[in-house]
Point group: C2
Chain length 224, copies 2
Amino acid sequence: MSFKELVKVLGLGAVAVVLGVEWLDWLTRRLRVSRGPLKEVLFFPSPHVCVEHLFTRLRRFPCACPLPHGIETSFSRLLEHLLSARTSLDLCVFSFSHMELSRGILLLHKQGVIVRVVTDRDYMTITGSQIGTLRKAGICVRHEMSTAVHMHHKFALVDGKKLITGSLNWTLTAVQSNKENVMITEEPALVQPYQQEFQRLWEASDPTNHKPQTKLKPSFVISD
Amino acid sequence: MSFKELVKVLGLGAVAVVLGVEWLDWLTRRLRVSRGPLKEVLFFPSPHVCVEHLFTRLRRFPCACPLPHGIETSFSRLLEHLLSARTSLDLCVFSFSHMELSRGILLLHKQGVIVRVVTDRDYMTITGSQIGTLRKAGICVRHEMSTAVHMHHKFALVDGKKLITGSLNWTLTAVQSNKENVMITEEPALVQPYQQEFQRLWEASDPTNHKPQTKLKPSFVISD
């Protein structure tokens, strides 16, 4: 094969590869549209792997930690969905002590995403809770003020259009040790009721509508 | 107006009412189809009302209890979906002490519905748990046997096609006092992963695959 022919073959090959990638991308988007809004289900426990690349947005494993790298898990998918927020994150969670999820929220807050958190009155003060860390960073957190025994929801709304909900509390035990489920969907018929519920709870938990409490609850150990 | 005219008007009125009801029924079904598979979201706490008519399948409030009658609540909707089972009910629940939900499952079992329950090893023996009642009635219950800290799921599959899932444990506190959510859907893309997860847990919890335990866990108080 002459040099000229070789160049021709390589050139045609490159064009074919580019067109193939474009076609695959188009096909993926087309299939996604035909399947309707996003619907994804994650099950836990999730293996403990490095998720550093999700925070730094570099895919070439910048970290030298001893954890396995480059592996997609239920937790990494959950974190990816959380970090996909561009304008707002509404979080309604019973128990929140997971350090990496907390780091994710702090990062979003730093990037200008409007974060609102509603949590349980008792569980917000337990040992290991990340609620104090979020508050210290300037994130607005409210707690349930009704006579309800517990604010037991575990859902999040990303940019008001993506719902993350399930049995999973945002704790290390839940993520790494329990049998749990999380559903992620952009189906409007499911997202809207949760958005309305969040707004209702947010307004009902507004401290300006309530008298200050004189009796403080003591701290106690983490439980799900 | 003569008697003949009166009969004519009444007759035409009756025909109009019947046609109107038929048209409304057709319209409701048409709208349901155009909206796609069932998607319903329930929020709790739910008011305590009489649900006796759901068990007896009579709509004329046969019971004389002091509770409010004829009111649809989140709990009555949940119970209605549960009682809609005709062939199978697969239940995967962390904590189960709610008497009326237990009664519903016993009724389904009596009607020949195949009921399978997977529950948490520790919470199945707590005070008030209905797991023993289900077992005594001949319902097959298995508990988590892996090293997982808790089997924390709270989902049910009705006839293998309707998914009931959320934050709600099947306890009186969860139903009547907590802020909770339950989603009911027949969307295949959401139902199928839960069906597969149930089957996986069911097989993994098969006692014939495990050695008998020598150490029994002590009973303890109910908590969510």
